[in-house]
Amino acid sequence: MQSDIKRLSLILLFAPFALWLLLLIILPHIGIVALSLREKVAPRVYEFGFGNYIDFIQEPIYWNTLLRTGSMSILVTILALLIGFPIAYYIAKIAGKRSRGALFLLCLIPLWVSDLIRAFGWILLLRETGVVSSFLQDIGLISQPIEFLYNDITVIIGLVYTVILFMIVPLVSTLDGMGDDMIEAGYNLGGSGFTVLRKIILPYAMPGIVSGCIVVFMMTAGSYLTPILLGGKNSSWFTEQIYDQFITRFNWESGAAFGFLLLAFTSLVVWLGLKLTGQTLANTVAKS
């Protein structure tokens, strides 16, 4: 009797979980793989084949865009870590008790502001008639308006800006859990600041670092608004290609192939990252 109730409640709890993952994640992904392996041979006539993937390989614009998206996303992830880690460390370990909470709140409150508004703000600051250009003219540093938008550096700054809080917030939580005595012991044993960082702080924070990097990398590679709005027509971001195939050209087969390639490529990068750092998905992202 008791075990029957247990089994029944387990089934009842498993049902929503299974329906959610099966209907909204697993089946749809099988669906796009199946669709991507379909070639159009005549109107409304399709055949199985790898044509969409062959097109991808044969057209340098496509795979260049994917490689560019991937490498720029890795760069953005590294920058977000380098810029964000000292901030997280300051909040968790250096700031006084009262300012710690305030600073962390300053990071949490804008966390969910839309990419669109962030990019819009950068546009107002950086465009030819924008705040920065006007200001530089007013103080006489430049004589003509300068366009700061539509180049790779601006896109990278905008992307780092969009994702960096998703790096800092999990890092603060991780570093918060580390006892100050561990760091002090390191110093007492004669370690320099750098040794303590390398031998004690970084190994302790590694799950948080890897977790932040995975989330940030995936958000960057999958972002759409920031590269388009800050990079303009020539931003060449891979999500733009997917949108183009799906909505503009209405070529769903090829769009599905592109989608699968983006997923496979980003998963490969994440898998390599996990292997290199000796972490697993379960003890990084799952904990944040």
């Binding site: 709890l13 990071c107 966390l111 703000g121 107002l124 705040v131 760091i183 989330v215 995936m218």
Partner: protein
């Protein structure tokens, strides 16, 4: 202080870096919000004086956001979608939390990782995969039975499903973390005092989870509200606010009414985020 900072100059430099970072963090948001109050037709310098026209004025060319039908409709659809996603994802997030904290079944670790995955799938791919599946079903039914299933075409239902598909992972993680802190002896005490299992759930366990459920619901609402990538592929004629704003930015060019919306959203989402933090912090001692 954790680190014996021998070097005072270093600490000052470090502080300056932190301050510079927070200025960097605030600058675009301040720019996007401030121009809502500029009495000009363009969101740019010079400053023409303070006005609230971009919120409340009811005539062109300075039509304020609270009189702009399309923006208001976008706001309404966003709120409806956000509420539905938030309700659904908190429900499934709660059952998931019980499943993984209380349940014992083969392959539990594997399923747990499966639960995390939607968070690291790019939103664009979730969007297209759900679009493709819904269209396949709708087309199949139309061909075989000659019935048009309108709800499987791009529209509110697909947007809700698309956002729900990954937001559920977030709510599951938040509620799971809370349930792990639950003290079993409280349930046992209630059972010993003669309560039924359903009563224990209703009067002991769920009240304990409530702060996490509310916080998860708020986060779900915020993520849904600001989502663009997944929504873009699933949207029908009922555009939520981010899509309406993007269309206007890309096609018409921006007037300060978009700044007014930005100001409204920054303040609104900031307040909601603050509430979710406070709720979780106040009762985390339990």
């Amino acid at each position: 202080m954790a680190v014996a900072t021998q070097n005072k100059a270093l600490l000052i430099g470090y502080r300056a870096y932190v301050i510079a970072f927070f200025i960097f963090l605030a600058a675009p948001l301040v720019a996007a919000g401030t121009f809502a109050f500029n009495d000009s037709l363009f969101p740019a310098l010079p400053w023409q004086g303070f006005t609230l026209d971009w919120f409340f004025n009811d005539t062109e060319p300075k039509l304020g956001m609270f009189h702009d039908r399309r923006l208001l409709r976008g706001l309404y659809y966003s709120a409806v979608i956000g509420a539905m996603v938030s309700f659904l994802s908190v429900f499934v997030g709660t059952t998931n939390a019980f499943l993984f904290v209380r349940g014992n079944f083969p392959g539990k670790n594997f399923f747990y990782i499966l639960m995390i995955l939607p968070l690291v799938i790019p939103g664009v791919i979730l969007g297209i995969s759900i679009l493709v599946m819904a269209s396949n079903i709708a087309n199949g039914v139309e061909d075989k039975l000659n019935i048009e299933l309108e709800f499987l075409r791009p529209g509110i239902l697909l947007v809700v499903l698309g956002q729900f598909s990954f937001i559920t992972t977030i709510t599951s993680l938040v509620i799971t973390a809370r349930l792990k802190k639950f003290d079993y002896t409280m349930e046992e005490a209630a059972l010993n005092l003669g309560a039924t299992r359903a009563q224990v759930l209703r009067t002991v366990t769920l009240p304990f989870l409530r702060p996490a459920m509310i916080a998860a619901g708020i986060v779900a609402f915020l993520v849904s509200f600001e989502n663009f990538n997944t929504t873009l592929f699933l949207v029908g004629s009922e555009s939520p606010l981010t899509i309406t704003m993007y269309d206007r930015m890309a096609k018409v060019g921006s007037t300060p009414v978009l700044n007014a919306v930005s100001f409204f959203l920054i303040v609104g989402s900031g307040l909601l985020a603050l509430i979710s933090v406070v709720i979780q912090r106040d009762k985390s001692g339990g």
